[in-house]
């Protein structure tokens, strides 16, 4: 990386990052501090203006309410289940597209990014319809055609997760495919040539060259997408509403309900704060072990 060394300039770059800093403070930090503050109060619909500090009460409520751990488990299933499947799917497609002797790449690619390029709010509604058992096309046509059992998210938690994660995969795989495709293209093919000469088979090449080369990419998209998925609640909201019971409910869906169904802003803030602490801890672990930010030193 000599370029960054030689290119470094004495100019004070502070001016250049000032805009983003100001906006970050305005759009993230201040609301956050405010949210943190609210979480120590009893602000809700009935104390919209005359609320008081209630200390850690909201946090106590959260830990005593009994479904804290259930929600953590659900959030992890949702986040990791979605991420692992959509990253693998994206990766697989990227690998397929990256084959040198494959024809018609750009046409396939153009079709495959469509789910990403289409307004997601209607796609979700359509998916809701597709999953209806036994009338939606998924259960009427596709699954029987593939000799797979039908899926009904109303009566089975497992089915509900499958439905949620598959739908989320549909929405997101194009992004991962794009990311991995563009990273794969930048691996010098000499690396493969040489390994092949040394006797590496397809699998060896994949595990010894492709994966290590993409380590940084994987880490970067993993962590950003981890946070995004953790905080993403529209699919759950629209498809299962968190049911059956609260078996597909996540932190954020719950926080959202607290805020917008019950107007308990204080509790909602506390949920969000706790949720965020979790993401940050997990995020920091990933950052630490993948050295993703090292290139910024």
């Amino acid at each position: 990386m000599t370029s960054s060394k030689n290119g470094k300039n004495e100019d004070n770059g502070f001016l250049y990052i000032l805009p983003i800093l100001i906006l970050t403070i305005f759009v993230f930090i201040l609301p956050l501090v405010y949210a943190l503050y609210i979480s120590f109060t009893n602000m809700n619909l009935f104390h919209l203006f005359n609320y008081n500090i209630v200390g850690l009460k909201n946090y106590a409520i959260i830990f005593e309410c009994g479904y804290f751990w259930e929600l953590i488990k659900n959030t992890l299933i949702w986040t990791l289940g979605s991420l692992v499947t959509m990253m693998s799917l994206g990766f697989l497609l990227a690998l397929i597209l990256n084959q040198r002797d494959l024809k018609g790449k750009s046409i396939f690619y153009a079709f495959l990014i469509l789910p990403w390029a289409f307004p997601g709010f209607i796609s979700l509604l359509i998916w809701q319809g597709l999953w209806v058992d036994p009338y939606g096309m998924m259960n009427k046509l596709i699954l029987p055609m593939l000799h797979l059992p039908r899926i009904n998210s109303l009566i089975s938690t497992t089915d509900a997760w499958i439905e949620l994660i598959l739908t989320n995969d549909w929405l997101s795989f194009p992004y991962f495919m794009t990311v991995f495709y563009s990273s794969l293209q930048s691996i010098p093919h000499e690396l493969y040539d040489l390994a092949e000469l040394d006797g590496a088979g397809t699998l060896t090449k994949f595990f010894r060259i492709t994966l290590p080369s993409l380590k940084r990419t994987i880490a970067f998209v993993f962590i950003t997408s981890f946070v995004f998925t953790w905080n993403n609640f529209y699919p759950i909201f629209i498809l299962t509403g968190g049911g059956p019971g609260i078996s597909t409910e996540t932190f954020i869906v719950y926080a959202y309900e607290e805020a917008f169904d019950y107007s308990n802003f204080a509790l909602a803030s506390a949920w969000s704060v706790i949720s965020t602490i979790f993401v940050i801890i997990l995020g920091l672990i990933v950052i630490k072990y993948t050295h993703i930010l090292d290139s910024f030193s």
Binding site: P188, D193, E196, G199, R208
Partner: protein, 360 residues
Amino acid sequence: MAHVKLEDIWKIYKEKKKTVEVLRGINLEIEKGDFVVILGPSGEGKTTILRIIAGLLKQDKGHVYLRGKLADDMSPKDRNIAMVPQNYAVYPFMNVFDNIAFPLKIEHVPKEEIRKRVLEVAEMLKIDNLLDRKPSQLSGGQLQRVAIARALVKNADIILMDEPLSNLDAQVRVLAREELKELQQKLGPTIIYVTHDQAEALSLATKLALLHDGKIQAYGDPLELYGQPNNSWVASFLGNPAMNLIRSEIAGEKIEFDGQAIPLPERFKGIINSNKVILGIRPENIEISQDGDIEGVVELVEKLGSFTITHVRVGNDIIKVIDKAFIKREKGEKVKLKFDYSRIELFDAESGVNLMIKNG
């Protein structure tokens, strides 16, 4: 039995609309222990040849024989060949040790054995103190050694090298060249080495192959090729400065050009049947001297330290002369040139073939 043999290799790249015939019938026989340098301008297909030998690319026509056996259908890993690619391709995510150990790991050599062999090679190449480093912490010269170490560690008896020194500093390059040569003499593998740098080619090669127009234009002892190029392209390509090539006519016992005439050397007599020829003479075989018989005017003086190249205009031609380092000449000075007639070559004006070789 040739150790590596290429038989009429053709390779055509198809790109969108146009097809490029990169190799158009390559024939090459390489003996065991040879250090063969394939020299050719950029983009002529040198890398392509190496990749075909390694089996990474399939030729469109022709055959590759390795160690006497037809290798066309062997996969790269069965060919037992090592390679140093054009940009080293040192795996950026492994440290030096792992990079060198990589071929052994793939072959599932036992851990201890791997350690031993890697250390041995690393010591030989004086990189044993770098084994823990990541490639990004290495200089170009060190990277190149790692790449060579990785090729050597396999103990393959055929090693392909694709311009391994081209990224190095001039100074370092000269040193590296010498080391490489010693290494080959010590270990004795067959090396096929690709470059577009003449100095490298001449100093390294036991056999030199010149690649141009998809064909091997010449193949043989480097100094013989240098001294007696088999065609005018070879003459113009080999040597720095290159051989002076002057369109001439044979008029009886004389060679005429630019209004000058020199006697036709004895050895050409009787074998010349065309009268339009190209006269070739190397700059180091011309002297600027009072008793020269060709008159010219100094056009440009290039001082290069250990010698000076003087460009002398004779008629419409510029003739380059290698001069002593310390001679001062001015532009416009009138000089006389003295050719070393014994070192003159004549080429056919049409086909460019060396008339001596063609006919003699």
